[in-house]
């Protein structure tokens, strides 16, 4: 197993407020890493540093290093290239107001693919990978906004996969979904990790326990504990982790 993303002594400020403190964490390829912690602990902020989404925040200042396959993503990588390699799916499904086909083809078109045959192939492959093909192959030209919430979220996953990223970031991507849609996305993640690396932020402890290989617990901007999920949920090393995952965090 190889490290695909590495954060080293990562510190981040929003103005005067320090949101991340000396984060050192390795993300291993073909694993699902769950980031857990109470609201405001820094887990989403940390995730956004992995594809430089924080660049869009004016008051944001970063020290330390994040590497993707050994390359410093803040010094030696173009943000657009980075975001192609590290895709992201958000809490709320955000399909573009266009057809299912065009949603998936959007990224490849931006990256210069014009061939219809090639785009057809990418759309089918991405929807297959997102376990959505069978449900929408007969209505690819209809609006994505007519899909159910669970389908829309899988469409967003398909859209992220269409540009063939190496890493998929999922920020509470099932929190607005019913249990069946959640289960479909969880099954999908287990399938996708064979080809991709997944980092997910979740408030659902059972979800982190069910599908992640590694769990990292954040609190007040610090990484308190990271380790094999089985160990974290059976016998966490740190008392604060134990208190948080058992719901005794007051």
């Amino acid at each position: 197993m190889a490290t695909i993303i590495q954060s080293e002594n990562l510190n981040l400020w929003y103005g005067d407020h320090q949101a991340l403190k000396d984060i050192n964490l390795s993300i291993e390829e073909h694993q699902i890493t769950a980031l857990i912690g109470p609201s405001g602990c820094g887990k989403s902020t940390f995730m956004k540093t992995l594809n430089r989404m924080n660049d869009l925040v004016k008051s944001c200042r970063i020290e330390g290093k994040v590497t993707l396959n050994g390359v410093d993503i803040y010094k030696d990588m173009d943000a657009n290239i980075l975001r192609k390699r590290v895709g992201m799916v958000f809490q709320k499904a955000n399909p573009f107001p266009m057809s299912i086909y065009d949603n998936v083809a959007y990224g490849p078109r931006i990256h210069g693919i014009r061939s219809h045959a090639k785009l057809d192939e990418i759309v089918e492959r991405s929807l297959q990978q997102a376990a959505l093909w069978d449900e929408c192959k007969d209505r690819l030209k209809t609006s994505a906004l007519g899909m159910s919430g669970g389908q829309q979220q899988r469409l967003c996953i398909a859209r992220a996969l269409a540009v063939e990223p190496e890493v998929l970031l999922m920020d509470e991507s099932t929190s607005a979904l019913d249990p069946i849609s959640t289960a479909k996305i969880e099954d999908l993640c287990l399938e996708l990790k064979k080809k991709y690396t997944i980092v997910m932020v979740t408030h659902n402890m059972q979800q982190a326990n069910r599908i992640s290989d590694v769990t990292a617990f954040f609190l007040l901007g610090e990484l308190i504990e990271a380790g094999e999920t089985k160990q974290i949920f059976l016998n966490p090393t740190n008392k604060k982790t134990e208190e948080y995952i058992t719901g005794r965090f007051g």
Partner: protein
């Protein structure tokens, strides 16, 4: 602000019910020792009746453990406790069953002619009784040292078992007319040895509760036997 107050109360309540069950099991053992040493059939009947109380505790606690798993989805130390509780009550219930099994044989022995009682029984009963008491204490206090001592004592009981078995075998050869009586003692011997095993099982879960490591102590013994 404290959270999960009801959940914590429920866990404490289950724990105190298991303690109460443990007290009843220890009482059953005390009565068994008494019935055995005096071949007291009245006492033996009381032990068998007493078993209903322990069975009731087992199903009550089991139901509450299942309910808390379904409702609260316990993890980490909570889960280690609940999983161990469910194993513990099963072992405690088996120990109480063994008391009733022994009582049945006490009644059969008392109804027949008097025979020589293998001497090692006294020590074997005492060691087993201490093991049950210590294993319950170690369980609730998270005392891994005491739990390890319980597991070690299982070997003492195993040695007593072998000594008694040889003595019974010799007695049967000397007094073949009393074979039935001695076979009843042999069964009691086996039941006491099993009670010690159940105590060691409970002790092995203490390490799991405290450190999250499973210690399957009986695996070693079977391995040793298979290699000898």
């Amino acid at each position: 602000m404290a959270t999960r107050i009801e959940y914590d109360e429920e866990l404490r309540d289950i724990s105190s019910q298991i303690r109460a069950m443990g007290t009843e099991v220890k009482r059953a053992i005390d009565m068994t020792v008494e019935a055995f040493s005096g071949l007291d059939t009245e006492r033996a009947n009381q032990i068998m009746q007493h078993d209903d109380i322990i069975d009731h505790y087992e199903s009550l606690i089991e139901e509450r453990c299942i309910e808390i798993v379904v409702k609260q989805a316990p993890i980490a130390s909570d889960w280690r406790k609940i999983a161990s509780y469910m194993r513990m009550i099963s072992d405690l219930e088996r120990i109480a069953d063994n008391c009733s099994d022994i009582s049945m044989y006490i009644k059969r022995i008392a109804a027949g002619p008097e025979v020589h009682v293998p001497v090692a029984f006294t020590g074997m009963f005492d060691t087993m009784r201490d093991m049950v008491s210590d294993t319950i204490e170690s369980f609730f206090n998270g005392d891994t040292k005491l739990a390890a001592a319980v597991i070690r004592n299982d070997e003492v009981v195993d040695r007593d078992f072998d000594v008694i078995m040889k003595e019974i075998s010799a007695e049967i050869q000397k007094n073949p007319g009393h074979t039935d009586q001695f076979l009843d003692y042999l069964m009691i011997n086996k039941y006491v040895e099993r009670m010690a095993d159940h105590s060691a099982n409970i002790a092995s879960w203490v390490t799991f509760i405290v450190k999250g490591q499973l210690r399957l102590q009986y695996t070693d013994r079977y391995r040793k036997n298979s290699e000898s």
